[in-house]
Amino acid sequence: MATRIKDIQTNVEDLVTARDTRAPSRRPIAVPIDQPVTYPLDLPESEARLRTPAVGQRATRPDGRLHGLGQTQYIDDITFPHMLHAKILRSEYAHARIVNVDTSEAEKMPGVIATLTGAEVPENSFGPTYQDQPILAYPIARHRGDGVAAVAATTEQFALDALEKIKVEYEPLPAVYDPLEALQEDSPKVHGDTNIYTSKTIRKGDVEAALAASEHVFERRFSTQMVEHVPLEPHATIASWDGNGRVSIWSSLGRITLGREDLARTLQMPQSRIRLIGTVVGGNFGGKNEITNEPIVALLSKKSRRPVKAVYSRGDEFVSSTIRHPFIMDYTTGVDNEGRILARKIRLVLDGGAYCSWTGTTIGKGSILAPGPYNIENILVEAYAVYTNKTTTGAMRGFGAPQVCFAYESQMDDIADALGIDPLEIRLRNGFSENSLSPTGQSLQSVALKESLTQAADRFAWKEWQA
């Protein structure tokens, strides 16, 4: 291993002064390879693949020109006459009962036209799976990112100044931050009697018997952290409630039909009176898949009878928008002397934060993919999503797939290392091929795993590095 590190160390000065204008992907492979690589991959063409001739073709984005000219209109680039700006006050506590919200002083501030509290929202709950999340927290705030009141003023600065004048009386409640602690019976409860709000079990074969019969058993705990999407465009909304009782909403939301359903529910009005316009989105990555401040802005527009715009600050974005679920993953894997996986037992604990959001999808995908792309006869996956008094976790690229990938691939390396098998070889021995069955019994088509691995290994000269 030490020689590998030495090999790739290069004189930094040489790099900086080198007249190599080729970007990384255009550089030729540094080490000569045994066989020339042919592209595209020479694979049996499935019927589905033949029906999709566009795949593999080069295409230019139709919106690329306006992006480059700076003429694309994102929400913050749109303004309306007499438009107001809204800002949201966040909870001071991770867990607290809200006794009273007094906005009277804020309303006297210069430029302030309307305020809103959770008690004024017609149906103060939403969520794509469970409707457990309030529009503005009332009577319980369950994490620091929960909004407790909002202000619409003639400028953003006036709105921010007014937030400081809102008096909120809190009764702090015990909070829980660690997902394993949240599983305990005597832990503070975020909602109801238990913090476990979703679970999933996948069983295949007899994992205990197969583990007992395995020549080697590997056990390890892996964990991943919170990740925020950080779209460069923060969440933004404009709402305009007209004199006929219809509301038009311009939103950075990615799922507008679902959003309109949620808006109809929270605003308690028919969908026919809601016009939701999805604009060009400046980065989503899963974080803009459900409503956030849309009902707040709509209700402020109704109260002020003026168009209202709200743009999250980067701080709002971090504490209040959804994030990726941190996972705690216990992997027990039984293998034979050749490194063939005989059994894999997995326990996943998903730190869900304060509300459910897209956890249903995340726990499902995470569980199905947890054993990895390997042929394993005996599998047990048990997954639990638990509430904690932290930022809400939701959809983010892959819905749980990257977390489990980190765990199973790390363990594959552990096994390869312990048994003295080449890390590529152990993957080729166990990897899925055409018609392999997924852990839930789905027959897989167009499987190019081994071909991809082999070609990738050739491309970066895996054998030469090992030598």
Binding site: L15, V16, T17, A18, R19, D20, T21, R22, A23, P24, S25, R26, T60, R61, D63, G64, R65, L66, H67, G68, L69, G70, Q71, T72, Q73, Y74, D76, D77, T79, Q157, H229, V230, P231, L232, E233, P234, V280, V281, G282, G283, N284, F285, V311, S313, R314
Partner: protein, 159 residues
């Protein structure tokens, strides 16, 4: 306070509150919404504009400080009938996906090529270090800048 400056070759002025940033003046007073507000603390670079030949985060510069300066924004890059080589190459190579970083990224790249038409990959990376992109992974952006530099040098040679 009255702020007078030159934007994309045109004399512009506006009466703004003293705390107004150059970014807000451009977007809200002058209607130039190409430069974006991404983080408001100078981390992401979506607000990048060129002030007297230096690329700056306009969210961190007060409008008053830009008084009398020569400012170039994304709106000043293309001519009436032709894209800037950078804009052409960014479009061609798919260097823009959601596009939100684009105006700042292009302005930083323009400022680099204006002074160094044949940069190395490392010089491009250095010049774009203050511009974040969450979609592309930067590879296409770097390729586009280098290609645009070559294109500009060739155009120069042909003249």
């Amino acid at each position: 306070m009255l702020v007078e400056l030159t934007v994309n070759g045109e004399s512009r002025s506006a009466n703004v509150a003293p705390e107004t940033t150059l970014l807000r003046m451009l977007r809200e007073e002058l209607g130039l919404t190409g430069a974006k507000l991404g983080c408001d603390v100078g981390d992401c670079g979506t607000c990048t504009v060129i002030v007297d030949g230096v690329s700056v985060n306009s969210c961190l510069m007060l409008a008053g400080r830009a008084s009398g300066c020569d400012v170039t924004t994304i709106e000043g890059m293309a001519s009436a009938d032709e894209l800037h080589p950078l804009q052409q190459k960014f479009e061609e190579l798919g260097a823009l996906q959601c596009g939100f970083c684009g105006p700042g990224m292009l302005i930083s790249a323009k400022n680099l090529l204006d002074t160094n038409p044949e940069p190395t990959v490392f010089e491009v990376r250095d010049a774009l270090a203050g511009n974040l992109c969450r979609c592309t992974g930067y590879t296409k952006i770097i390729e586009a800048v280098i290609d645009a530099g070559e294109m500009m040098s060739q155009e120069q040679a042909n003249v």
